[in-house]
């Protein structure tokens, strides 16, 4: 139902199938997702709990892990714990968070743990396929809601000085985030701002990096205060 994630927007399908592990505690959702995914995506494993997920990921070393934010098992940390448990593989395996919970703290926590993006579970098969390809290609995937979170957390005023400031977004990054929050696909963002899709992807990746690395203590506080948006 989510119309973004750059439908058909230049995320070239890789030559070889993308190997994916699906981690979700609902078998119905896993099988539904598997049926929806593009044939270019090869599901090599499934897991329902934190322990299973860490084991399957270590054994299969997939390109992308579709990871539910809320998972039983482990120490109760859910998706965040799976990413932490697979930290050694983060360079080759990318995590895409899936969630029904819109609670900002959950989403921000899993992104800060190292996920490359976040999409809601109501997303259509074509869109999730696109998101998987995008993440596999090293890009970040922002849903409008995640872009909204970022804008709310970092504030809507641009940074005064350099782009390298971790606690603020640059004017360009703000523009990109705003357009994504408004429901624009990457392609549409590129068209609107007269830049290439690659540049949009660079900006989004930069925002993701700031989201992950910013030590801004308000970020955590903010996420805890906003139970949902």
């Amino acid at each position: 139902m989510n119309t973004t994630q750059g439908t058909g927007a230049g995320s070239a399908r890789p030559a070889h199938p993308v190997r994916v592990v699906i981690v979700d505690d609902h078998a119905i959702f896993r099988s539904g997702l598997k049926a929806d995914l593009d044939p270019g995506i090869q599901v090599v494993g499934e897991a329902a709990t934190v322990e299973q997920a860490i084991a399957v990921i270590a054994q299969q070393r997939p390109d992308v892990v579709l990871l539910d934010v809320h998972l039983p098992g482990g120490l109760g940390g859910g998706g965040r714990e799976v990413i932490a448990g697979s930290a050694a593989l983060l360079s080759s395996t990318r995590f895409l968070a899936l969630s029904v919970s819109d609670a900002a703290e959950d989403v921000v926590a899993v992104i800060r743990a190292g996920a490359r993006g976040y999409v809601t579970k109501t997303i259509s098969g074509a869109e999730i396929t696109d998101a998987v390809f995008r993440v596999a290609g090293g890009d970040a995937v922002f849903s409008p809601r995640l872009a909204g979170f970022v804008l709310d957390a970092f504030g809507t005023a641009p940074a005064d000085i350099a782009d390298d400031e971790l606690d603020k977004l640059s004017a360009r990054e703000l523009e990109v985030m705003r357009l994504i929050a408004r429901g624009y696909s990457y392609k549409e963002v590129a068209k609107e701002l007269f830049i290439s899709i690659k540049t949009v992807e660079t900006h989004v990746s930069a925002v993701l990096r700031k989201l992950q690395l910013s030590s801004r203590h308000e970020l955590t506080k903010w996420a805890a205060e906003r139970r949902l948006l």
């Binding site: 139902m1 989510n2 119309t3 109501t122 409008p144 709310d152 809507t156 408004r182 429901g183 949902l228």
Partner: protein, 447 residues
């Protein structure tokens, strides 16, 4: 009212001289407080009957706060009708209707009859001083009596006074801790409470010791103290495990009861909303559109219930936009995704903004035929709303002049309230941009 006037439940009022028994009783019986107090004092002279009665009520009758809490804890009936949406929506609408209306002054004490403030203030401020004065007068009277040659046995009076004083200090503390359960007290207060409890205990023990040993001689008192401490120690040793076990059972039972109440509430809600929707979905399984619409509506309702922050005030712009998006979703069946950044308190101009965006959402959902993206960004400076669909698009010039939807309801309305509206339509979709500067709000607020 033709029925019997409902009596307020018997509860100790916060309008009190000692423990609020008299005013609570007066409220319950519908008598004037003064008469009740006078009666209580007079009855005290009848062999202390009034005192005993007062003490009994003090112990047995809960405070008004406690009574209120007890009522609130009562679990909802398992099939309470209309727990869910309509009531909430009505409340939201009522709130939104009077955004500027300040809530009426909240009465401080829930129980008891309305009392003139001066009287309550006097009761609170001077109650302790009056008690102290009475005590001093009593002491003075005894001393004068002794000077006049009346034989007063100080040996019994002083310990008795100590016992009474200590007990009342400790009991007052009990009352305090009862209230502390409602209002979060600081650690310092708690420490003071324990100090008072200990002081009361020490006074009582000392008084009892002196009374029992029958003399003021230290040697005997020490012996008695030692003996009683030894006995107490033995009793504690034997009973402690029992007491702990009972305490733990009590705690477990209380926790269980709270869980049970919560479960009943959740069951009631699920029954009223989710089960009904699931039944509807089963009956309409053939119609995909209806199923999606029902599922979306239920999801929205359930989310609202799960994550609703009861402490948060409603009447915020983002809440209104979300409510309107929900309406549009219910009406036309297409999903409306709302993302909000920042927030603002509703004003009259904001209401126009909400209505304009509602019109835009309706158009987007009707003609776009897919998911509608709504983005709200509000700050002190301005409020902006973007409504985007992915329909075939249209030319504003092609819209017949008699169709007022866009011209009047969106563009005209925004202009009248000092804002602006822009519509951008291409073959890939349409975006309506609404903007309301803060200056316009102020102008609107003055008019």
């Amino acid at each position: 009212m033709t029925t019997l006037p409902a009596r307020p439940p018997l509860a100790r009022s916060s309008d009190r001289v000692i423990a609020g028994v008299c005013s609570g009783l007066a409220a319950h019986l519908g008598w004037p407080v003064k008469n009740v107090r006078l009666g209580m004092v007079l009855a005290s002279f009848a062999g202390g009957a009034g005192l005993v009665f007062y003490a009994w009520l003090w112990v047995m009758v809960p405070t008004a706060d406690e009574a209120a809490r007890r009522n609130a804890r009562r679990p909802a009936s398992p099939i309470a009708p209309a727990v869910s949406q309509p009531a909430q929506e009505a409340a939201a609408a009522a709130d939104a209707g009077s955004p500027a209306g300040a809530p009426g002054p909240v009465p401080e004490d829930q129980g008891g009859a309305p009392v003139p403030p001066w009287f309550r203030a006097r009761g609170m401020r001077y109650g302790k001083e009056i008690l102290l004065g009475c005590g001093l007068l009593l002491v003075a009277g005894i001393m004068i009596a002794q000077l006049l040659g009346v034989d007063v046995s100080l040996g019994t009076l002083i310990p008795a006074a100590a016992v009474l004083g200590g007990a009342s200090i400790a009991w007052m503390q009990l009352d305090e801790t009862r209230r502390a359960g409602l209002v979060d007290k600081t650690k310092a207060d708690q420490a003071g409470g324990w100090g008072r409890l200990a002081a009361g205990l020490a006074l009582v023990v000392a008084g009892v010791l002196v009374m029992v040993s029958g003399s003021g001689s230290w040697e005997q008192t020490w012996l008695a103290l030692l003996a009683s401490v030894a006995v107490l120690g033995g009793v504690v040793l034997v009973l402690l495990p029992w007491a702990l076990k009972f305490w733990r059972d009590l705690e477990a039972e209380r926790a269980g009861r709270i869980r049970e109440t919560e479960r009943a509430e959740i069951a009631a809600h699920l029954h009223d909303s989710v089960l009904q929707t699931l039944a509807l979905i089963q009956r309409r399984a053939g119609n995909e559109h209806d199923v999606v619409r029902l599922a979306r509506a239920q999801e929205r309702e359930l989310r609202g219930w799960l994550f609703q922050d009861s402490g948060r005030e409603s009447g915020q712009l983002s809440d209104r936009i979300k409510a309107v998006a929900g309406e549009v979703e219910d009406l036309l069946g297409n999903a409306v995704e709302v993302v909000t950044v920042g927030d603002a308190v509703m004003t009259e101009a904001h209401e126009a903004l909400v209505q304009a965006s509602r019109e835009a959402m309706l158009n987007a959902s009707r003609h776009g035929g897919g998911t509608v993206s709504v983005y709200l960004e509000a700050s002190d400076g301005q409020a902006e709303i973007f409504i985007k669909d992915r329909g075939p698009g249209f030319e504003l010039g092609d819209v017949p002049a008699d169709r007022l939807g866009i011209r009047e309801s969106i563009i005209g309305r925004m202009k009248r309230h000092g804002g602006s509206a822009a519509i951008l339509s291409t073959g890939d979709g349409t975006e309506v941009r609404l903007r309301l500067p803060a200056a316009a709000e102020h102008a609107e607020g003055k008019s």
